[in-house]
């Protein structure tokens, strides 16, 4: 812990209690508008991109250039809109709260609903009849054979791995819907300005072309630099349009404050992001415009702004020191950026809503931690951003606090803990020691590992330098368990032989036999998922290069290679796992029941599973209460959890992806643990059919009876084998006073010192959550931590609500699990 106060922290009050929504300009009003906003489908992007490709593009041109030109066309024509009194200019879509359509990816999945999604029961997204017709008749038809999934199907001849993916219940292939999931290097845009980057691209292109005859590689490079220039010019054009529009609105505006704001915005947008930012306000607005621009090209899923407290700090410091910026204004500006980050949401079709509902776009912002030299990087902006988050309590951005227990000051840790206690859900804590170590272990040089950011949800990334496609694979572990128990079949897919025949469980003589069969199925299914990811990756290379994002990244400009072709300094693909705890507990249950105590046979257990434990109450109780549980220090549980993590790590790391990076296993689940749980039968850990799985890397609900065991159990997993990141969800009913807060902080400290990577919280009691489920109208703004991001409780589907309700709550004062309310016991996965 730092005993010398950092010069970067000059605030007299790091809690900034004097600043509230009442005193921060129109932030309160903007926030209210934000929370009230109702989602509308925005077709503007789809319209322009399709128009360009369909009507104007030259088919002979490379995808790189056509894509760049389409981005240029869209951004140049994108309507410059001002919906409210925000201090920042620019909107992600043409709607105040828009769900943009990406027909190249999964946009067409809403086709069936064009007439009904405005009025559907769960999370309706409104679309006008005119827009519906445009999509139906003019946009979607163009993409029927051209979206990523279908293109891949044709190119790879509808491979079995794709058909497996389409069964939903084995793994999900993220690339069908997105690569995104990255942290761009906005710093480049702020420091150099787009004009300079374009000039650089032009110079490089000219240098190569000047050679005369070009090799194929050089020709591609030249095209790449040309494409970057074209795409970035589109951004400059958009900013120019914003500037002109703001000036126009200023002319027409009578209200002096509003007029002044328009004038300022017109000025700002005339300078940035074309030129380097020269003030805090310019830097903020530049980041915002760049963020919008990235979404022209990349779907709005987890494009994460990164370490904003580091990136914006030089501008903040200069302006504060020169007197041209006050803390008050800085907070207002940050608040505006925070609210802007909420101005868009994902387009969600009905089925996805039912299975996986409630997730947002998760733009993750990272604060704190250490700098490239390993020094304390906490600064004034870190505290301003914490305060803004504390005041606004909006779903986005997802704030992530890096904490280095050897370097960052205790008061920083405690302030973050305080914000968690006040918001009851955010931010999440990241262990710098473990995170940096695991990235170094992946071959990232120390100074870059130290500069890591979080990609929403919880993935670790060498910010702005590493293209991580962290959501490439979402892997369903309990599916493998069932495949093992049913010799390559799963109840939900009936009699079909899905996986290899690893043996009739009745023939297993030892736990080693079982483990061999299990890892056999697991290895096979992983191969399928990887194969499909590679196919989809190559389709992205062929059809969806990302020149715009590549221009805002470290690596591609020097290499002359698009991110999608491996141009980033570092590359990887992320594979996350659903149902880890339930799977581990089931394996341990089998080991104890069948092989250690010889109390039951596998066929007996399998039969009971098939009947959802009906008529097998003793067997069920035994499996539920007397078998080893992950999240305790039972040696069997510890062994199996570590072995599973090790097996996954070793298997994935043997594979190199199409961009030259390795596969990194992770353990976060969004809401998939609810959806997949609904589709799975009863499991040997005592979980009944159709019940949700535990989230992320968290132990099964109610299985880990004491807090100490739970924290140490999760921390005992080897962080070096979890390079993709993890989500560990912990719940406390209340943090009531300073003593509680101190213990809360200390528990995190101990957990980090034992090697845990990440931890996040819901500070809510069972009773409160049960009430919120029964009476949603009384809790319109209740924000809960789901699994790596936050959601409004009322937006979650019933299964997810129940999952959050049933998560073990620990009493901070006794370290024991709080008894689950008797009247709601039927919600528990074992009941």
């Amino acid at each position: 812990m730092a005993s010398v106060a950092s010069p970067a922290v000059t605030l007299s009050d790091i809690q900034l209690v004097d600043y509230t929504l009442e005193t921060l300009g129109s932030l309160g009003e903007l926030r209210t508008q934000c929370l009230r906003a109702r989602a509308q489908v925005c077709i503007e992007r789809a319209k322009y991109v399709t128009e360009y490709l369909r009507d104007f593009s030259v088919p002979e041109e490379s995808a790189e250039l056509r894509r760049a030109r389409a981005m240029h066309y869209f951004l140049s024509n994108k309507a410059p809109l001002f919906f409210d009194d925000s201090l920042l200019a620019g909107t992600t879509t043409s709607k105040p709260f828009g769900a943009p359509v990406y027909p190249e990816l999964t946009g067409l999945t809403i086709w069936p609903e064009l007439d009904t999604m405005s009025t559907r029961e769960k999370n309706p997204q409104r679309i006008s009849p005119e827009d519906a017709e445009e999509l139906n008749l003019r946009i979607f038809p163009y993409w029927m054979e051209r979206n990523v999934l279908e293109t891949t199907r044709t190119r790879c001849h509808n491979p079995p791995s794709m058909r497996l993916f389409e069964r939903i219940v084995f793994f999900l292939a993220g690339k069908a819907g997105a690569v995104s999931h990255t942290v761009p290097c906005y710093r480049l845009g702020l420091e150099k300005g787009l004009n300079a980057i374009m000039a650089e691209a032009a110079a490089r292109e000219a240098a190569v072309r000047g050679k005369g005859t070009l090799s194929a590689e050089e020709a591609r490079q030249a095209e790449f630099w040309q494409a970057v220039r074209i795409a970035l010019q589109g951004i400059v054009n958009y900013a120019g349009n914003l500037s002109r529009k703001a000036a126009e609105l200023a002319e027409q505006e009578a209200n002096p404050a509003r007029k002044a704001n328009f004038v300022r915005m017109a000025e700002v947008c005339s300078r940035v992001p074309a030129n380097p930012a020269s003030s805090f306000r310019e830097a903020l607005n530049a980041i915002w415009i760049l963020h919008i621009a990235v979404h022209a090209e990349n779907i709005n899923m987890a494009v994460s702004p990164g370490r904003l407290d580091q990136i914006l700090y030089p501008y903040y410091r200069r302006d504060i020191d020169s007197g041209s910026l006050a803390v008050q204004e800085a907070l207002e500006l940050l608040g505006c950026l925070w609210l802007k980050l909420n101005d868009n949401t994902n387009l969600v079709p009905e089925t996805a809503e039912e299975l996986f509902g409630g997730a947002g776009t998760v733009p993750a912002v990272t604060v704190g931690g250490v700098d490239e030299n390993g020094q304390d990087a906490v600064n004034d902006l870190t505290y301003l951003m914490l305060r803004v988050t504390e005041l606004l309590k909006t779903r986005d951005p997802s704030l992530n606090a890096r904490y280095h227990y050897q370097v960052n000051p205790r008061e920083y840790r405690d302030r973050v803990a305080e914000v968690v206690a006040n918001t009851k859900a955010v931010p999440a804590f990241y262990n710098d020691v473990a995170a940096i170590a695991t990235l170094e272990n992946q071959g990232i040089p120390t100074r870059h590992a130290r500069d890591y950011s979080v990609i929403g949800c919880v993935e670790l990334s060498a910010s702005g330098r590493s293209y991580d496609s962290s959501s490439s694979i979402l892997f369903n572990l309990p599916a493998v368990l069932e495949l093992t128990l049913y010799n390559g079949k799963r109840p939900v897919t009936g009699e079909e032989q899905i996986g290899p025949q690893t043996g009739d469980p009745a023939s297993f003589r030892s736990f080693e036999d079982f483990w061999k069969a299990f890892t056999g199925q697991l290895g096979w299914l992983i191969e399928q998922a990887i194969e499909l990811n590679e196919c989809l990756g190559r389709t992205h290379q062929e059809c969806l290069p990302t020149p715009l994002l590549s221009g805002l990244f470290e690596g591609p400009m020097d290499a002359g290679r698009d991110l999608i072709f491996g141009g980033a300094l570092y590359n990887s693909s992320g594979a996350t796992h659903i149902g880890f705890a339930d799977t581990v507990d089931s394996i341990s249950a089998i080991e104890k029941a069948v092989f250690l105590e010889r109390k039951y046979t596998l066929p007996q257990i399998i039969e009971a599973l098939g009947k959802d434990f009906a008529g097998a109450e003793e067997l069920h109780a035994y499996l539920l209460y007397r078998t080893p549980k992950y999240g305790t220090d039972d040696p069997v549980a510890v062994k199996n959890s570590r072995n599973l993590v090790a097996f996954l790590y070793e298997t994935y790391q043997r594979h190199v992806n199409y961009r030259g990076g390795r596969y990194r296993p992770a353990y976060w689940t969004m809401t998939n643990h609810a959806g997949q749980g609904k589709l799975a039968g009863a499991l040997p850990n005592g979980r009944k059919a159709g019940r949700v799985f535990a989230s992320g890397i968290t132990p099964v609900s109610q299985a880990a009876a004491d807090l100490a065991g739970c924290l140490l159990g999760v921390a005992s997993l080897d962080a070096l084998q979890i390079p993709g990141g993890e989500a560990f969800n912990l719940k406390y009913p209340a943090i009531q006073d300073q003593d509680d807060l101190k213990r809360f902080s200390q528990a995190i400290e101990a957990y980090f010192q034992c090697g845990g990577i990440q931890i996040q919280f819901n500070i809510m009691s069972y009773e409160m959550l049960l009430d919120a489920k029964a009476h949603p109208e009384n809790y319109p703004e209740l924000l809960v931590r789901v699994s790596g991001y936050s959601a409004y409780f009322k937006d979650l589907n019933d299964a997810m609500k129940e999952e959050i309700i049933t998560r073990t709550a620990y009493d901070l004062r006794t370290g024991s699990a709080v008894a689950f309310p008797e009247r709601a016991k039927s919600m528990l996965p074992g009941n």
């Binding site: 067409l108 999945t109 559907r120 979607f140 009905e350 299975l355």
Partner: protein, 152 residues
């Protein structure tokens, strides 16, 4: 200007709408596929607005039960819909939809409260081919559903 949902007066079409609506409300949805395609063909014929959906749209859909006891081919070409009660050798299907029963097919295509989850659990529908064709067809089917339920 004709309202997009109006059919104009046509006794055949009216009768089909009536039967279709009954099918929508019924528990087992007997005859759903035939009713849907017949109604679709009729509306395509009479309603220029609806017909725009299939302008320059060439596609072949094959619907079948798992045991092939029922096979229907729907071909969109030349701005028309042709329905055949068997597989056509001259048409390569863009998508093959295998369904267990008419209710499963209805749940797949129509709204609201489509029991997608239940459908998946019971493995009631299998899809092979380009899913975008299914989405488009579902859109057109839901259009018909709106017509049928709003028509007096």
């Amino acid at each position: 200007m004709t309202h997009p949902l109006e059919l104009g007066s046509n006794l055949v079409a009216d009768k089909l709408v009536e039967k279709f609506r009954e099918c929508l409300e019924s528990e087992v949805a007997e005859g759903f596929l035939t009713l849907l395609l017949d109604l679709m063909a009729a509306v395509l014929f009479f309603n220029a607005r609806y017909r725009e959906n299939i302008k320059r749209f060439d596609a072949c859909y094959v619907f079948r039960t798992a045991d092939d006891s029922m096979v229907v081919t729907a071909i969109f070409r030349h701005d028309r819909l042709e329905v055949w009660p068997h597989r056509r050798k001259d048409a390569q299907p863009n998508i093959i939809i295998t369904f267990q029963n008419p209710k499963a097919l209805r749940n797949l295509l129509l709204a609201p409260k489509a029991d997608i989850l239940g459908s998946m659990l019971r493995q009631e529908v299998r899809l092979e081919g380009n899913l975008n064709y299914l989405y488009k067809l579902a859109y057109m089917a839901r259009r018909l559903q709106l017509i049928a339920t709003r028509a007096v």
